[in-house]
């Protein structure tokens, strides 16, 4: 039996605008998402902001009812068997919310241990064990309002693990953490899979998905646009070539013109220290340097370089496709 199965999940939100003449707008956040995650797998849902990652997760953890489609977690339907699903899953999201700031870290865990139905006798040792795991030992009796972002995030992870769930949902857990904190959290996540948990992780960092996940699904505008192991995804971009041109101010129109050149797969602009860099992915056999420079005519151009495509380029190409 699969640990998580999503079948053609869809979710639209209705939003209202206007005070007197209320208009209803529909946002299609998730449009037919399907995937299967096997027990013990660490599966990554990778996509830019607004792609529909959180919405997908919230349907799987019974907080949102799908507008269409269905999903099962450990064989249980997320709508019909919601309560049974809740007993078996843990949910952790990134950011500073989701913590009772007026309570100590320890009290936060005690309260949720009770809510998650952890047997009274097991609560204390379990909380101690988790404080150790996430590295909050020694600070647990301070009020959470004084915790750093990283500490709150680690408290979150401990909370999500209280009832020793078989399946864990981690929604952008490293968001807003400093690099050291993020790395520590990633190693904690890696140790959880080693302990046999099934994990669905969402992130908008390519390298994070690459480093942690057994398989990745790339989601863009509510649909999955690619799926496979990190190696599969890399193979998909192996043949092309990437041209990077330093520019000092480039307008939308120029980018659009470059995008329309024959042989161009994707165009993006990255901000680096002093300059912007126009990153153009092309098919391997075409030579577009002079054509691109032609379009940049008039603007200042710095260094130009050509390189092999990386997984990051594959991802950018996938999520910027129209």
């Amino acid at each position: 039996m699969a640990a998580i199965e999503a079948h053609e999940l869809c979710r639209t939100y209705k939003t209202h605008t206007g005070t007197f003449r209320r208009r209803t707008k529909e946002v299609e956040a998730v449009r037919g998402v399907s995937f299967t995650i096997e027990p013990g797998e660490l599966f990554g849902l990778l996509g830019p902001n607004g792609a529909g990652k959180t919405t997908t997760i919230k349907m799987l953890i019974t907080l949102l009812i799908p507008t269409a489609g269905s999903a099962r977690v450990l064989g249980l339907d997320v709508v019909k068997d919601a309560r049974e699903v809740r007993k078996r899953i843990g949910y952790v999201f990134g950011g500073e919310r989701g913590v009772y700031e007026r309570l100590s870290g320890y009290d936060n865990l005690r309260y949720f241990a009770e809510l998650y139905g952890v047997p009274p006798k097991l609560q204390k040792p379990r909380i101690e064990e988790l404080l150790e795991l996430v590295g909050l030992k020694g600070r647990e009796h301070e009020r959470a309002e004084g915790y750093s972002r990283g500490m709150k995030q680690r408290l979150h992870v401990a909370r999500g693990l209280l009832h020793d769930p078989e399946v864990l949902f981690l929604d952008e857990p490293t968001i807003g953490l400093d690099p050291v904190g993020a790395r520590e959290l990633r190693s904690t996540i890696a140790s959880l899979t080693a302990a046999g948990k099934t994990i669905l992780l969402t992130t908008h960092y390519m390298f994070e998905a690459d480093a942690l996940c057994d398989r990745i699904a790339v989601i863009s505008k509510g649909s999955i646009v690619a799926e496979g192991t990190p190696a599969d995804l890399k193979r998909g971009v192996g043949q092309g070539s990437v041209l990077e041109v330093e520019v000092y101010g480039v307008d939308e129109e120029t980018i659009e013109q470059v995008r329309r050149l024959g042989g161009v797969l994707a165009v993006s602009v990255e901000e680096r220290e002093q300059a912007q860099v126009l990153v153009v992915q092309t098919q391997a056999e075409v030579e577009l340097t002079s054509a691109i420079l032609g379009h940049l005519n008039g603007g200042q151009v710095g260094r130009i370089s050509q390189r092999e495509p990386t997984l990051e380029d594959a991802y950018v190409a996938l999520v910027t496709e129209e």
């Binding site: 919310r97 009772y100 809510l115 139905g117 009274p120």
Partner: protein
């Protein structure tokens, strides 16, 4: 057993948070004194001490009620704001068992209101602090707290469904003072108001508190208060499932 434990633990932590909240704290400390002062000024002119005790008990329960009616809804809004509402809903225990301790916590603050009002009345206005049946009085106070918690649950549930429900709480704050006889005896109200008073537990809680303090038969009132409180809780529990299903359908559990 585990349900009682959950209610107890939930109450403990919710109450701890209320005590640590500076904003609620100041309001809770000052409001009852304000109510008491107003009520006692109104009733002072040429009245017997008995009437003054009657009025100060009314002011005390007013404070209790205000704490519950205005805070039950905003407590849920706060959970939504903190991002904990979704975590509470995603927990396997029934959501009403999570909300009830929160509203009971708010009602418990009412015990402070009661004590503060009576002491204020005693030391500032010289009202005697004699309570005829101390044990029944204590029971009546506890019964009233429980019933208020149950009524708070109804507010909280409706708040999870309608974001504007805090208005509902504020809307109910003042009419209940009147309809439940906190300030004036029910006998003075028009006949058509009576049935409304009868189905509101605060009416019976108020009456039980007064009967036990001034001498009378508080037991029937207390039982009615508890019975109605239990009915509110039952209704709240029943409605919760419906409300949550609805909120999951509309996506209103989170802030966005």
């Amino acid at each position: 057993m585990s349900t009682l434990r959950l209610l107890g633990v939930g109450w403990y932590f919710q109450f701890k948070m209320i005590l640590r909240s500076p904003f609620d704290g100041i309001g809770n400390v000052l409001y009852p004194l304000f109510f008491a002062t107003t009520a006692l000024f109104v009733f002072r002119a040429g009245q017997s001490p008995r009437t003054l005790v009657y009025a100060s008990l009314g002011a005390a329960v007013m404070g209790m009620w205000s704490s519950v009616s205005t805070s039950a809804g905003s407590a849920m809004q706060r959970e939504r704001w903190w991002g904990t509402l979704e975590l509470l809903v995603a927990a396997p225990r029934h959501f009403s068992l999570v909300m009830l301790p929160a509203t009971l916590g708010l009602a418990t603050v009412g015990i402070y209101n009661l004590a503060a009002t009576l002491l204020w009345g005693h030391f500032v206005f010289g009202i005697p602090l004699t309570i005829t049946h101390p044990l029944l009085f204590a029971l009546s106070v506890v019964g009233t707290v429980l019933a208020f918690g149950g009524l708070g649950l109804l507010f909280a549930v409706s708040f999870v469904r309608f974001r504007a429900a805090w208005v509902l709480g504020n809307f109910f704050e003042y009419p209940v003072w009147l309809v439940c006889g906190f300030l004036v005896p029910l006998a003075l109200l028009p006949g058509w108001v009576r049935p409304i008073s009868w189905v509101l537990a605060p009416t019976w809680g108020m009456s039980a508190i007064r009967e036990s303090a001034l001498g009378g038969t508080p037991l029937p009132d207390l039982l009615l208060c508890l019975g109605l409180g239990a009915a509110y809780v039952a209704l709240g529990v029943l409605v919760t499932d419906r409300v949550l299903y609805d909120a999951r359908g509309r996506g209103t559990l989170s802030l966005t």
